[in-house]
Structures are given as C-alpha cells and as structure tokens.
Symmetry: C2
Subunit: 299 residues, 2 copies
C-alpha cells in the first residue's frame, strides 16, 4: 500500500475525488477527512470517501500525505495550524489554482520545514461541488501540474506525483511562477472576461430583453461565470501581477480590433478571426490526443 | 398543404433543416433547392431534403415562399437577381444574423416590391454545416425572430411566421434595429471577444506552452471562435455601429475591473463576480423553462 494514512482537508469535489481515486486504485489504507462543514464531513463518511472524520490539525499525526483541497487564501493559516503536529515523514500538498502565493504562504507558515510542502494543481473540475460530487475518475487522463519548491527533496516530490498518477493523472512540472503566468492567460483571464460580460449585460436597463435572446453560444462563453465568486476573487488577487499583464495584453488586442472594425477593414478582421479559428482547431486536435487515456487504463 | 412550393437558397444546415422540418410537419408539397455548390445541391436531393435542384432565379416562379439561407452580405445581390422572376403572390424571407443591413439591401434591390420581403432570424445553429448536417428538429423549441419592414402586410408576415411555427419554433418579433442592438450584445460581441482571446494567445511566443494547459473552461469560452471567419467578418461589418457600441461599453467595464484588481480590492471584485454568477443562474433557469418544448411536441 503506497499510502498508509491520508488526511484530506476539504472533502468536496477535489479532495473527495482524490480520496475516491486512491481508494479505487488500492493505493491508500486509511483516509481521514477534515472539513469546515461538519455535515460535509459526515456525508463523506457515509459515502465511504473517508474512513474517519478528523476534528483538527492533530489528525495529521502519523499521516504519510496531507492534501489541502481548500481555497488558496486559507493555505497559510491551515499550514500554520498543522506545523505543531507535522511529523518528520509527513508530506503536505495542495490543489490550489495559484502557486506563487501558495509557495510564499508555505515558507511563511512552515519556515525551514517548508521542504515538506510540495505544491501542485490538478487541472480538472466540474460545476458541481460537495462530497456527493466526488467521483473516482475526475483526474483520469487529466493533467496534474507539480510546482516543486527549491527546498523539496526529489523523493518527496515523487511521493506526491505517484499519488496523482495512481488517480490516473498525467504528471507535468512547472516552476510556481511559470505556472501562474500560464494559468493567468488560459484560465484566470477568461474567467474575469466572462464575469465582466455577464455583469455588463446585467447592469444595462434592457438586460431582460438581452438575456431573452442569449442562446447556446452565450451559454458556453459564460459558463465559467457560473463559478464561485469567492474562489475567483481569491485567485484574482493571488495572481494579481500576472493577471494584470494578461488583461493589459488583451485590452490592447481589443483596441486594435476596434480600430479595424471602425475602419470597416473586413479583410483584416477576417485574418484575426481566421487565425483564431485555425489555432483553436489545432489545439482541440492536440489536446484531445493528449488527454485520451492510455489503452491499458481505458474504461 | 400550407406551402405548395418552397425555394431554398442555400441547402446547408439552416436552409436544409428548414426544408426537412416543413416536410416532417407535412407543411410543404414541393421544395426546390439552389446552392452555389452543385455538389451540395445534389447531396440535398439525394437526402430527400429537396425535391428538385434549381439552377437560377427563374426557379422562384410560382413559389409561395423563398428562404435565403446564405451569408448576409449576399442578400442584396440575390434579391436583385430574383426581382425579374418575383410573382405577385411570392413571399421572400431570410435567416441572416443581422437585420438592419438586410432590410436596407431589400429596399435597395426590390424597390417598391420590398413589401414582399419579410426579414427574420432563427436563433439556432450548430458547429456543423452542409446538407448532411440538416436535421428536422433544429428549430424545435428555439426562437424565430421576425423583424418586419414597415411596408410588409400583416398576412405576409403571418405566412412566414406560420412556416417557422410549423418547424417548432417560438415566434418573437423585434424591429430590425432593435434586433441588431440585442444581438450585438449577446452574440456578436462574444464572438469578437472569443476570436480576440484565441488570436492573442496564438501570437504569443510561448503559445504552445499556453495551449498545452488550456482546459475545459477555455474550450467552452472559445467554442464560438470555431465559427466561420467569413460569416463573422460579414456580421461584424453589417452590424458595425451596434457592435462598436457594445465593444466600447465592454472595454469600459474591463478598465473598471482592472482598476479594482490593481487596487487589490477583493470585496469589489467579488461583487462584480457575484452579480454575474447570480444573473447567469437566473438567466439559465428562465431560458431553460422557455425553451422546453410544449408537452404535445415532446419527442
């Protein structure tokens, strides 16, 4: 058994699916769940996601692995609470969407024992949440990005990536700062843009008329604006610098497109639209090939 | 039989589905299809979407109804070619995504016989195209927006809306200018924004790295950037004034959000994100209720 004792902070979609996947793979013996909602922890126990409910940080004693599946802004506080109970052989990891701030919070909270914290980010999610949303296949064929600290030992990084690999994830590795620049462009900016559009429309005097005619294209374009405002507030602030950089680049692009449109320059608009269509098609083909599960794990 | 002879210009997804739906409803006796692609017209004939291939505008002689399912920029030229063959009892309609330009093109091409042209816009579509993509249910439970000209007779407007109703569509009515303002906000602007984002990312030196980590949220956000660049070039230019207005409002919104983000004002960001999430949830609930097919047409 690769992991004798796992402690999961947050037993919802992300943490619960991690526990379910490891159990399904026979890669963990005993799972303790901790959640700010006692009802959620109880539900996770009923569903067999966890084997016991932990009531506080003392639950991590003797754990091999601790996963923080909690909002990124809470990482520092939780790590500080864990420190007095952190055994020499326990590794802590997380699943947050930003990594530079998490790395800084770990160093501030854990000091020289930050080497025991290996940050990471599983690139998977759904619109649902809570223990009932947790499924064993959430991570199968999806990416897990490990963003090690310079002070992490290679064997500790491997303990974390081995666990995610047991969940079916494909392991990638980026520096925390590199991670945050990448996700500012392909995730954090699109969320901000989608929220901005829906709020912009909702504030117009004829919003009801507009929403009446919004159709499936609008629905897909704004799906990410259905995400948790609290979570995305935290992510926006945690990745402020990179997000501002991407937003500025995008606004410059819009200014450019506006000039082409105002000039009635159809050929030039079509070039931009065509470049986007082509790039997206190539990406879809590439990502579908990369995300296809390997034959021996196909279900 | 409500329609004895129908002529469809463009036998792809939009025109082909219209013909299929009317045939399925027993609402048309004879369908003639005209397409700039001879192969597409032949394929539509093989599939039984049309009963005959028309080779030119003389095919509209004795037609009850003519549907133009062609790019909006071609509307004026096609209408001018129809005029010498336009019988006194023939009504022409269209399916274009912009209506002010179509109304102007109709008046310029048809002169005092513009009364026989009833512009409209079915709010339905898919990523696929061509005769093989045409399905009888494309319009079922979806909106058809009729945007009559002042010179249209009420009974002629009713002939067009009756046909779309027979396809299962829910009839809405807007003035052409009102239509274009609404769709600039909920459709044309989102398309421009999605194209702009994908092109922006594709032009960055590390585009490959970025696309490698783009996931399902990005996929949905940019789905509309997979649409035809030619078609959206035409729509952007046809609805230039309204689209510029919406783009300016959106850029002002981004400037505002940028200031909140730069100031680290999390509460204020969360207000915008929360307002958007709430508005979108209410919209989804309302549109799902409105688009549910009535019980007697459920399949």
């Amino acid at each position: 058994m690769a992991i004798d004792k796992l402690v999961v902070y947050g037993v919802g979609l992300i943490g619960g699916s991690f526990a379910r996947a490891l159990k399904g793979a026979g890669a963990v013996r005993h799972v303790v769940g901790i959640d700010r909602s006692a009802a959620a922890a109880q539900r996770a126990l009923e569903l067999g996601i966890i084997d016991a409910v932990g009531t506080g940080p003392e639950a991590i004693a003797d754990a091999d692995l601790v996963l923080l599946a909690t909002p990124v802004a809470q990482t520092g506080r939780i790590l500080a609470s864990l420190l007095p109970h952190l055994g020499a052989d326990t590794i802590v990891t997380d699943a947050g969407s930003t990594k530079t701030d998490v790395a800084a919070a770990a160093r501030a909270a854990l000091g020289e024992r930050a080497a025991q914290f290996v940050p990471g980010h599983p690139i998977a999610g759904r619109e649902t949440n809570g223990p009932d949303a947790a499924i064993p296949d959430l991570y199968r064929g999806k990416k897990f990005v490990v963003t090690p600290l310079a002070e992490n030992r290679a064997e500790d990084v491997a303990r974390v990536t081995d666990a995610w690999q047991a969940c079916g994830a494909i392991i990638h590795r980026l520096a925390p700062e590199e991670h945050d620049k990448v996700f500012a462009a392909v995730s954090h900016l699109p969320h901000l843009l989608a929220y901005a559009l829906v709020d912009d429309i909702a504030k117009k005097p004829h919003a009801d008329l507009l929403f009446q005619y919004a159709a499936s294209g609008f629905r897909d374009f704004t799906r990410i604006a259905g995400s948790s405002p609290e979570m995305w507030r935290d992510i926006s602030l945690a990745n402020q610098a990179a997000l501002l950089g991407e937003l500025d680049a995008y606004m410059a692009q819009l200014t450019n497109l506006r000039a082409r449109l105002a000039a009635g320059d159809g050929a030039s608009l079509e070039t931009v639209y065509g470049n986007a269509q082509r790039a997206r098609r190539q990406w879809i083909e590439a990502i579908e090939a990369a995300e296809a599960p390997p034959p021996d794990t196909a279900e």
